[in-house]
Symmetry: C2
Subunit: 469 residues, 2 copies
């Protein structure tokens, strides 16, 4: 009820006037192609006409959106609370006077961070840095881990003169041969260090030089989980053994592993999940070697798995060292444990250090989540969605398998890549916007206001498409 | 006249009530320190009360700002044109519905880019990518150069199967040993590849692993230029010889130099300028080796040197391959020559790809620049500012030397670091906000609405401080 009250005029069903992309989108894409590569554009959107779970395009189509700008719209299009925030005169001064937050922050900035980001901090974490996007959050998380690791190696002392001089030449000991361990199949962003820890698709990586840092396998489970518990448990064991072996080997050869970065779900890589006990054991290994556990919650954060942070499902005895975020949080950043506090200024720094105009919008998002019980809504809606996907995979076993998810963060695997692409294209013609992930999976990434009747609207069209294959 | 008309109520002089930082700033800093390192915070600003060239702080002080959020406020605080843009309902939908620009761009996005970014593109450049900030602009500029260089090496062919497979392991040939040459003393950002090309201060770099890519010296001129023309010309020759030697050596050892990144002025590094002929010769060398010339205009762009782009002063026979921007442009990005067009989608890509809410503000900035002749204003005001700095260095030769600049992008060097810091601290107590750069320089980075009477207000206080030393 509360969920629906923000969008009394949300349409009851998709409405299609043209195929997608329609003629206006096609002509705008041709125009954009003169300026930059526009091959990836699916359609041009009319954001004034979009509402709630529905995205409008420039050809007059209205689609139910369960992809939401690659999972980055938290509470639907044109949420009245957020529009109200932009109409507030005091907020408008934050939109037009963008501060260098590290030097001249706006009045009461600490209070605002406390009431927004810290009010939803992962348990046991009381520190946070704001950034611009997921990539720079991960880049700065790595830097924070490197400072922490080197400071421990120096037993708390400041960098030496030799370190200060050699780093200017990009040489050790000032630029030490530290590494970050990542998992095969992961996605952590596109800047140099992030891309070196990203291993989801070759098209992201080819032709770019990269850091040959340690990598370990991430579990690849068989579904349904309950029918494959032995196999899946052995996946956990094998992957964890790889992690420990890589850390041991790299440390021994002098390229210490300062951090391990991991997604709670390998999303872009194909919605691969790992068990809670996998992560608890991973933390044990990481602790044994004095390494930082960096949990990348850029896609899994902000309530979509039915908890504010996906890693809260794991019941870790202690928090991870760092948790990074972006997307639905509207701005980037990372929470960190207080022993990773950086003592000197200007080490983690840039001109803007985030964007308060996004923070004021996040305040509105978090208030709506709380007031309208959107996380509970996501649990309930997600349970229905997963149940329906399981029903479909039983009914259409030649096409679908491995339905999986938590909250509305769900996916299903198709029999092959061409069937996957066909389903996504054909369901879009029926007014449902979905995204692919990995080689042959379909991912559901709706906003937190996605409700049972939206699930029904999608599933009936999904079934139409499956019947037509 | 036109300049002043946007701010009829701009104060006529700074007004100080407390020392800086005042008690409220101090207490807010203490509070922020509980959450993150706040050592670099100079004061907390009241952005609602800031206006034009004046920044207000939370203790009731009003300072004339010639530092402008590390050079990132283009047309002053609370410009009425920009406030009007935030009040427009159609723009508000862009603020609350942030699109994934590479997939679902807003209606008429190409037209908006053409009328904003492309309307001020460097001569001969018709392509542009939008990004979030300076660092990700440079990171993606490097990636664009790498794709271009490798595609030339493959004679235009697509990546091979072996390349696609090896890049997933971060190994050659898919992850090739390409490099970017940078200059000692440069600043290009803080993410991994950017930081590896940044060599301004050790505190930015120490404890972080880095790419040991080629480096060359950037000229270090003696001032006044006209009295040291032989020495300065030999600086140019020596630095250019280093560039050529580095490219030759690195290419020969198989780590090809795909790009050379350079600032028109090494700003953060200390406001080091190089001559127009240095850059013309640099382009000759770069062309000879088939390398991309990447001009980092993050700080020098958007009119501050008296032209929209600082590199336009050089009279290059052809445009550089890439020009990156951010700061005063409000969003990041880069212009590039059409032969660097990337043919395949998803290679230069991320979730947001910039931010249309910044683009609509940039539209307002560019309109104001044109309507109010703000670049001409910057030329005139800058000439006065540089003249005054030259007068001061003659009057106070024990304290100041090497006054230099173009437009309002001016600097002066102090006799030592403690004098520099003393001047910046003491002039701030008199109501003028200035920034340091390099070891012992003071940089002037006012907005484009900085006028002769603002110069006079600063210089009289500067002289007061010098007299008190």
């Amino acid at each position: 009820m509360a969920v629906a009250s923000s969008f009394p005029n949300e349409p009851s069903a998709p409405a299609m006037k043209t195929s997608i992309p329609g003629p206006k989108s096609e002509s705008m894409r041709a125009e954009l192609s003169q300026i930059q590569n526009a091959e990836t554009v699916q359609f041009f959107a009319d954001y004034e006409k979009s509402i709630g779970n529905y995205i409008a395009d420039v050809d007059g189509n209205l689609l139910l959106d369960a992809y939401t700008q690659i999972s980055s719209i938290p509470i639907g299009y044109n949420h009245p609370d957020l529009l109200k925030i932009t109409q507030n005169k005091s907020n408008q001064t934050l939109f037009v006077n963008r501060p260098a937050l590290g030097v001249f922050p706006p009045s009461d900035y600490a209070k605002r961070i406390r009431e927004s980001l810290l009010s939803v901090a992962p348990q046991g974490m009381h520190n946070v840095m704001t950034m611009m996007c997921g990539s720079c959050s991960n880049e700065n998380a790595f830097k924070t881990a490197f400072i922490w690791y080197r400071t421990k190696q120096r037993e708390g002392k400041e960098p030496t003169q030799e370190e200060l001089e050699s780093c200017m030449e990009n040489k050790p000991p000032g630029s030490p041969p530290l590494t970050i361990l990542s998992f095969k199949g992961s996605f952590h962003g596109r800047t140099y260090a992030c891309l070196s820890t990203t291993h989801s698709k070759a098209i992201h990586k080819v032709d770019f030089p990269a850091l040959n840092w340690p990598k370990a396998s991430y579990p690849r489970y068989k579904y349904p989980l309950e029918e494959h518990s032995d196999f899946n448990a052995s996946e956990d064991r094998n992957c964890l053994a790889e992690v420990e072996n890589e850390i041991y080997t790299w440390n021994k050869k002098g390229c210490h592993v300062a951090g391990v970065i991991v997604e709670p779900v390998q999303a872009e890589g194909g919605d691969h999940w790992a068990s809670n006990s996998f992560f608890r054991n991973l933390q044990n290994i990481v602790k044994k070697y004095g390494t930082a556990l960096i949990v990348d919650e850029v896609q899994t954060g902000c309530g979509v798995t039915g908890k504010m942070w996906a890693h809260s499902h794991w019941n870790l005895p202690q928090p991870p060292e760092i948790v990074t975020f972006s997307k639905k949080m509207l701005l980037g950043g990372y929470y960190y444990k207080s022993d990773l506090h950086v003592k000197q200024g200007y080490r983690i720094f840039d001109t803007w250090m985030g964007d308060p105009s996004k923070l004021v919008l996040l305040e509105g998002v978090l208030k709506a989540i709380k007031r309208d019980n959107l996380i509970e809504n996501t649990q309930n809606t997600g349970a229905l969605l997963l149940g329906e996907l399981k029903r479909l995979e039983k009914k259409y076993p030649a096409f679908l398998n491995s339905a999986r998810g938590l909250g509305t963060f769900c996916a299903v695997t198709c029999c092959d890549v061409s069937t996957r692409n066909k389903i996504i294209t054909q369901i879009r013609q029926r007014g449902v916007n979905l995204g692919g992930c990995g080689e042959q999976s379909i991912r559901f990434r709706p906003a937190l206001i996605f409700q049972p009747h939206h699930v029904e609207a999608i599933i009936s069209r999904f079934e139409d498409v499956l019947n037509s294959l």
